[in-house]
Amino acid sequence: MEWLEIFDISLFRSLIRSATPIALIGFGAAMCSAAGVLNIGLEGKMLNAAFVGVAASYYSGSAMTGFIWGVSAGVLTAILFGVLSFNLGADEVLAGLAINIFALALTRYLLETLFKRRGFFSDPSIQGIDPIEFEFLNGTPFEKILSGFTPSVYLVFLLAFLLYLVYYKTRLGTAIRATGENPEAAKDAGINTLRMKWLVVIFSGVLAGIGGTFLSLETLTLFTEGMSAGKGYIGLVASSFGNNTPLGVFGASLFFGLGDAIGIRLQGVYELDSRLILMIPYALTVVVLILIGIRQRLRVRPVPIIEE
């Protein structure tokens, strides 16, 4: 049972780090889905943010500047998505897909044109975002578990809690959910459904932006082509798995993160299993979707026929 040995603190930390970008995207995707917007373009937003974050950090020498510009890039891309889908009437899924392809090409182009590199860009003058050490935890058993993560990680935990509150305990939350489930009911209640949709799109753009800079400025300080590596899509899958609720997404992200972390660990040990293990979260998502689908169908109970 040597494989049990891999379940240690280091795995835990790796899990959290893997889960973070997924969760960030997932929260955004969940909010969008809750409002009835199918936002596939999060991958592109993430990628743009990752690149701009690195570029800005490089040129300015400041990690904070990099972060701000990076997140702005995510938001700008989100606005592009919004304009295409809401103002110009493009199909949401199509717009999202096109944005992803666009972002991949754009970042590659800028990588070559601005930095004259292909594949990746790394430079000592890129300022990364440093991990936060909680000094008061030094020496305690909690040090290894809680301290020393980069800011976005803590943000994820905070968001899970905050979003839960917003979702279920604020007017905004109910307005968003109503917009997604029955826009007519929302409009009746005086809710501006278009504004709600814009809100969730921008919000997911911010989160995707943070996710992007997380990858390029927090985890490593470099930009790789196609850095988002499908995490944008995984986030969408996680939100489906979690039934588009904050806690569900949080749990799903941890789950995917676990798979990721185990996969990385096992790559040295059992080459075979890592990829198979990574498949498990996806298989489970499919199962969850089936269950949700079946539940929707068991709704209509016919009135019994009584002959007089």
């Binding site: 199909d91 899924v93 199509l94 666009f102 182009y109 489906s240 498949m279 996806y282 689908g293």
Partner: protein, 360 residues
């Protein structure tokens, strides 16, 4: 989907003009001379035997994936998983390529391609069943399967199908399984002709057979619209059509992957990455969800890509600019409201009806 109307042509032309304008700006701002670049571009796309042939080679998977998309959209399924089918088809074509040792050329190639079609098709079975019988969104399920496909083929190339202990790749396929390459300076192979054949076959089947009629009666628009009330009302079994459509589109995706392996790469290695499945969706949209439209759009797309490669090779301009421009074009073309805004102009309406009258 709408046949080509004047509106569509107008949108396309306007989109192209705008895209060209953007290209002009980008190039000038980054210090290049647009005119020169354009010339090189043109040269790279269609001038010279090597360039033309390379363009056609690049086009092969695009043709197949765009047609695969056309088919699944027209039965009402928004299928994003064709890329995954490509991986699966490619992997098993490679396997068939080295596994069967005592076959003649034609039988080996046919078998390998048949296997890639079969496997790619099987990959789409689950999403199809999930949608028809459990109402699970095919968008999400096909996205998931894309990931699973990448993981799966990576695992197989590393494990059970692995050639030698060092390189994570399958053994090279036998000569008898190769799709013949014709030119020494290009990977252009028989696969292109297969793809074009498929395009025409699809056109023929959709338009002129009862089977094709049943497939396309259902989906009547861009977004997956299964199930269609019209089809049910006519008595066409919509679930059968939807599943069949998905299987066929998966099969074509698998074929695209198979041809890439048998014709170009000749073995399956871990880093092999396919993207044509996604581009195929955009190409299919530009081609108005018609097989021939997809064919032409694919050629166009590949010409641009090849031109971009050439420009990239000869200058400092990155090839990615092509994809950027193409996405901008897609943004434009997909903006439905622009299309309907155009309708308001009376000259557009008039030209529109003349145009459609001309097409018989």
């Amino acid at each position: 989907m709408d046949k080509f109307s004047f509106k569509d042509v107008l949108i396309l032309i306007t989109g192209v003009i705008i895209t060209l304008g953007v290209a002009w700006i980008i190039l000038t701002v980054t210090g290049f001379i647009p005119g020169e670049i354009a010339k090189l571009f043109y040269e790279g796309a269609v001038v010279g035997q090597r360039n033309i042939v390379n363009t056609l080679n690049i086009a092969t998977p695009y043709i197949l994936t765009s047609i695969a998309t056309v088919i699944s959209f027209r039965v009402g399924m928004f299928n994003i998983g064709i890329n995954g089918s490509m991986y699966i088809g490619g992997l098993y074509a490679a396997w068939a390529g080295y596994k069967f040792t005592s076959l003649g050329h034609i039988s080996h190639v046919s078998l390998a391609l048949a296997i890639s079609i079969f496997c790619g098709s099987l990959w789409m079975l689950l999403p199809a069943l999930l949608k028809v019988y459990a109402g699970v969104s095919e968008i999400i399920s096909t996205i998931i399967l894309n990931f699973v496909a990448v993981l799966f083929v990576s695992y197989m190339a590393n494990g059970p199908f692995r050639a030698d202990p060092i390189a994570p790749a399958t053994p090279r396929i036998l000569e008898t399984a190769e799709l013949k390459q014709y030119f020494p300076n290009s990977q252009f192979n028989t696969g292109f002709f297969i793809a074009v054949l498929v395009a025409f076959l699809t056109y023929f089947i959709l338009k002129k057979t009862t089977f094709g009629y049943e497939l396309r009666s259902g989906g009547d628009g861009l977004v997956g619209s299964y199930p269609s009330r019209y089809s049910s009302y006519l008595g066409i079994p919509t679930d059968r059509s939807a599943i069949t459509g998905m299987l066929i589109s998966g099969g074509l995706g698998g074929l695209a992957g198979g041809i890439e392996i048998l014709g170009n790469a000749r073995y399956f290695y871990q880093e092999l990455a396919f993207n044509q499945g996604f581009d195929g969706i955009l190409i299919a949209i530009v081609g108005k969800l018609e097989p021939l439209g997809g064919l032409i759009a694919s050629l166009f797309w590949s010409a641009l890509k090849n031109g971009g490669l050439f420009v990239d090779y000869k200058t400092d301009v990155s090839r990615e600019i092509v994809v950027i421009l193409l996405s901008i074009l897609i943004f434009f073309v997909s903006a439905q409201k622009l299309v309907s805004a155009l309708e308001k102009l009376s000259f557009v309406r008039k030209l529109d009806s003349i145009f459609s009258r001309r097409i018989k």
